[in-house]
Subunit: 161 residues, 3 copies
C-alpha cells in the first residue's frame, strides 16, 4: 500500500470520489494535468465523500467562520489528492509540492487569510513530511468563487516520471 | 501552413494584432516569456483586430452579461494566440496546454465563473484537440481588473524546443 | 561580490531581513521553494529593513495612493530578493524571471493596477537587465490581502542548478 494512503488511514481520513460539478455545469478542463515531471492541479474546493460539493457556502467572515473555512481548505486538500491519485495512479509519485495558491471568498474586511489556507498546507505537510510537503504559497481574498465556495485552491507538484 | 492556423481559418477566425495597452500606460513586461520547453503567457484580455482593447468593459453580472463575458474570454484566447505566435514563430510548437488561470471581473454575487472562462477553454480545445489542448484551470472572481476588463486570462504551455 | 548585489548597492538599496509575519500567526510554508532549475516565490509584501511588515496598509485608491502602492511593490521586490538570496545563496543564480503575479488590494473602482505593479517589474529589470529580468505578468485587483497589505506579489524564476 502506498505510504501516503497508509498515512491517510492512520489519520482516519479517506479520499473522496472525484469532484463532481453541479448538474448542468460544463467543466471542459482536467482536474489534474500531467506532463513530464510536473502535475498542475486545477482549483479544488471542499467535497463530500461522494465527490459532490460540500458546504458551507458563502463568504468567509460573514456566512462562513474562519474555523469552517479552515476545514474547507483541509477538504480541498483531500479533493486534490483524490484527483492526483486518479491522474498518477499512486500518490507516492509526488516527489515535491511546489506552489499552492489559496483563494478565500473573503467578506469585506476579512483579512485572516493565512489561517484559512493553513488547513490545506498543514495536511499536505503532515502527509508528505517537511521535505516533500513544503511549498511556496499565497493566501489571498477573492471577490467571488464558483458556486459560492468559501475556499478554492490550485497547486503545482513535481512527480517522478 | 501551420495546422493551428488552418483550423483558425476553417472556423472563420483571424488572429488580432499584438495587444496594445491604452495610450500612456507603460507595460514593462513580455506578453509571452519563453524559456526551454515552457512559455508563460501574461494576463490577456479581449482585443479588436488591430490589437486595441475591446469592450464591453465593466463588471460581469452588472454592465456585462455572461454571454458577452464568454465572448470576451474567447477573444482573450485569440489575443493570447497572437502573442504566442509572435514569440514562437509557429503555433504548432505548442505541444501541451498546462495551466489556465481565468479571472472574471465579477459583480457582487456573480458566481457563474466557469461558464465565462469556457469561452477560452472551448476554443483552445477545439484548435489543439483534446490531447494537447486539455489544461488544468481555475475560474475565479476578481475585485478589479486593469482598465475594467470583464475577463483576463493567464496561462502556461509546454513547447517543443 | 555578486553582480546583482553590486547593482543593489549602486542604487543605494539594501536587502531587508527575511520577512517576519505578525506575532502569533503561523505561516507553514517556504518563502521560496527550490527544485531543479526552478524557484517558486511565495506571495511577498513590503517589509521594513528588519523584515517586519511595512505600511501603509489598506486599500489602494482609498487609504493608500497609487504612488505609495508602487513603492510597496518595489519593497515587495526587495523582500522577494532577500528570500531568494537565503534560498539560493547567490542572487546571480537566477538566470531568468519567468512569471510575476501582481496582486493589488484594490478599492472599489480602482483600475490602475499595472502602474502599481510596475514598482516590482521596473526594479527587477533594472537589476537583472532586459534578458534575464523580463517576465510574463498579470496585475490584478484582489478583494482582500493578508493583514491589509496594499500589494502582494508571487513569482517563478529559472535558476542555474
Amino acid at each position: 500500500m502506498s505510504k501516503i494512503e497508509t498515512k491517510l488511514q492512520e489519520l482516519g481520513l479517506a479520499l473522496p470520489e472525484i469532484t463532481k460539478g453541479p448538474p448542468g455545469v460544463r467543466l471542459p478542463f482536467a482536474w489534474v494535468r500531467v506532463r513530464g515531471n510536473r502535475a498542475y492541479i486545477s482549483g479544488h474546493a471542499a467535497t463530500n465523500p461522494d465527490g459532490s460539493l460540500a458546504g458551507p457556502f458563502g463568504k468567509v467572515g460573514a456566512e462562513v467562520t474562519l474555523e469552517q473555512a479552515n476545514q474547507s481548505a483541509r477538504l480541498a486538500a483531500l479533493a486534490s489528492l483524490s484527483s492526483l491519485k486518479q491522474a498518477l495512479g499512486d500518490l507516492d509519485r509526488v516527489t515535491a509540492w511546489l506552489r499552492v495558491f489559496g483563494m478565500v471568498n473573503a467578506a469585506p474586511g476579512f483579512k485572516q487569510l493565512p489561517p484559512v489556507i493553513n488547513g490545506f498546507s498543514d495536511l499536505i505537510i503532515e502527509l508528505y513530511g517537511p521535505e516533500a510537503g513544503t511549498h511556496a504559497r499565497s493566501a489571498v481574498g477573492m471577490a467571488e468563487l464558483p458556486f459560492g465556495f468559501p475556499v478554492e485552491i490550485e497547486a503545482e507538484v513535481e512527480i517522478s516520471s
